[in-house]
């Protein structure tokens, strides 16, 4: 059974239908790369998975927990679903280390010392050993985003959602963040990421999803799709002749 199962999800903002029946399966250890034009509903879909957005019909389950049916406690769900944002959204009044320790100490009630040790090892993992006491404003965008990834990992999520996490970065900082994500992927972390980094989607993704006008227009193994897009829309989007 798939870890994240999305079935015929529909979502509207007022009269505008943004998701028009989206279905998508993500298995354990999958790296799903979602691509598509601006406004095609990529972020909305991702935000439905951890309950930041509600949807009108269909169903989403994560590790057997139904999302948005009103029965599953969203807090329980979110302990298993991490999210990293385009704008980092670090807490500016807390140091890098405190950002990472916040949820484990407040939500999981971990001991301070224990949480601190975890935070330090996570910072090391994202290549920021020694930045424990730095405030977000003292870090570059790439460093901030890596702290944000560490912060999400501190809750030991079963799946990590990433919404264009390199789009706000200067080009020379993109790679340091992608490397961290690639390493997570190689360690077997389940990832669903919206991205504009086509090469990353092809090389690291285990599944490519092309969204178009609120639907999954095409999906499959990245290399196959990039090599031979089945639809003119995807061909045009990735810039190859069908």
């Amino acid at each position: 059974m798939s870890l994240v199962s999305i079935r015929d999800v529909r979502k509207s903002y007022g009269a505008q239908e943004v998701l028009k029946g989206v279905s998508l399966d993500t298995g354990r250890g999958d790296v799903v790369a979602i691509i598509g034009r601006s406004g095609s509903g990529k972020s909305t879909l991702l935000r439905c998975i951890n309950g930041l957005e509600t949807y009108q019909s269909g169903s989403i389950t994560v590790d057997g927990m139904a999302v948005g049916d009103g029965k599953t406690d969203l807090r329980t769900l979110r302990r298993h679903v991490g999210m990293v944002f385009q704008q980092f959204n670090l807490f500016p009044h807390l140091t890098a280390g405190e950002n990472i320790m916040l949820a484990p100490t407040v939500v999981v009630k971990e001991q301070k010392g224990e949480a601190r040790a975890v935070a330090e090892s996570l910072l090391e993992k994202v290549g920021l050993a020694g930045k424990f006491d730095a405030y977000p404003s003292q870090l570059s965008g790439g460093q901030q985003q890596r702290v944000a990834i560490a912060r999400a990992l501190a809750m030991r999520p079963t799946v990590l959602l990433c919404d264009e996490i390199t789009s706000a970065l200067d080009p020379e900082l993109v790679n340091e963040v992608l490397k961290v994500v690639e390493r997570l992927a190689s360690e077997g972390m389940t990832l669903i990421l919206v991205t504009h980094e086509m090469r990353f989607a092809r090389d690291v993704g285990t599944k490519l999803v092309f969204m178009h006008q609120g639907r999954v227009h095409e999906e499959g193994p990245p290399k196959a799709l990039f090599g031979q897009p089945a639809t003119p829309e995807l061909a045009q989007f990735i810039g190859v002749q069908p």
Partner: protein, 216 residues
């Protein structure tokens, strides 16, 4: 009456100033505590709480402080409860202050970017935990300057307590004028003392504001 020298007038005014300062301080502190509760109601998820707190704020912002003082002083007496000018002034100023502070602070809370809510929500924090650990600490920093700025209004607001007979700076001025018949001197001194109390506060508030803007 000429033996009511300048120094005696000044001395008496300064003695009364103690009460202005004390009333200001107490009203500000208790107003701040009540204001925090009103703020929490105002930004809560509960519809009823939000409406009630909005009504509270509108009532105290939308009526003159003097009327509020009268209501506490004379109104409560109608129920057979004896209220001293001191208590009436304290209560009225507390509620009045709380309404304004709650509204100022609401602005600060709402200026925290949506991403902060979303990030903390995604980390499984509850609403209360988000408030306590993420939103309020940031809002507090923004709130310091306008809060200190508002304290000037509280100091000036205490002058109204003179009307219900509480002997603070303004009332002392009126009494001294009645015996010395030197209104210009007395009220100039009164005004200068208010200015000496308020100016450092507003100056400090402006400085904090400037520092915050530079920090961005």
């Amino acid at each position: 009456m000429s033996d009511f020298s300048f120094w005696i007038i000044l001395q008496n005014l300064l003695l009364a100033t103690r009460w202005t300062i004390l009333l200001s301080l107490i009203a500000f502190v208790s107003g701040g505590i009540v204001g925090l509760l009103v703020l929490l109601a105002r930004v809560s998820h509960g519809r009823v709480l939000r409406i009630l707190s909005l009504g509270y704020i509108e009532v105290f912002q939308g009526t003159p402080l003097l009327m509020q003082l009268f209501l506490f002083f004379f109104g409560v007496a109608l129920f057979g409860i004896e209220v001293s000018p001191w208590v009436a002034a304290w209560l009225a100023l507390t509620l009045w202050t709380s309404a304004f502070l709650a509204e100022i602070w609401r602005g600060c809370v709402e200026s925290i970017p949506k991403g902060q809510w979303e990030a903390s929500e995604s980390l499984a924090l509850s609403y209360g935990e988000q408030m306590r650990h993420v939103i309020l600490p940031q809002a507090l920093r923004i709130a310091v300057a306008p809060t200190v700025g508002f304290s000037v209004q509280v100091v000036k607001g205490t002058a109204l307590a003179s009307i219900i007979g509480f002997v603070e700076l303004t009332k002392a001025g009126t009494m001294l004028n009645n015996v010395t018949f030197r209104p210009f001197l007395v009220y100039t001194l009164v005004a200068l003392i208010y200015f000496a109390l308020c100016f450092p506060l507003s100056w400090y508030s402006k400085r904090l504001e400037g520092r915050l803007n530079v920090a961005r």
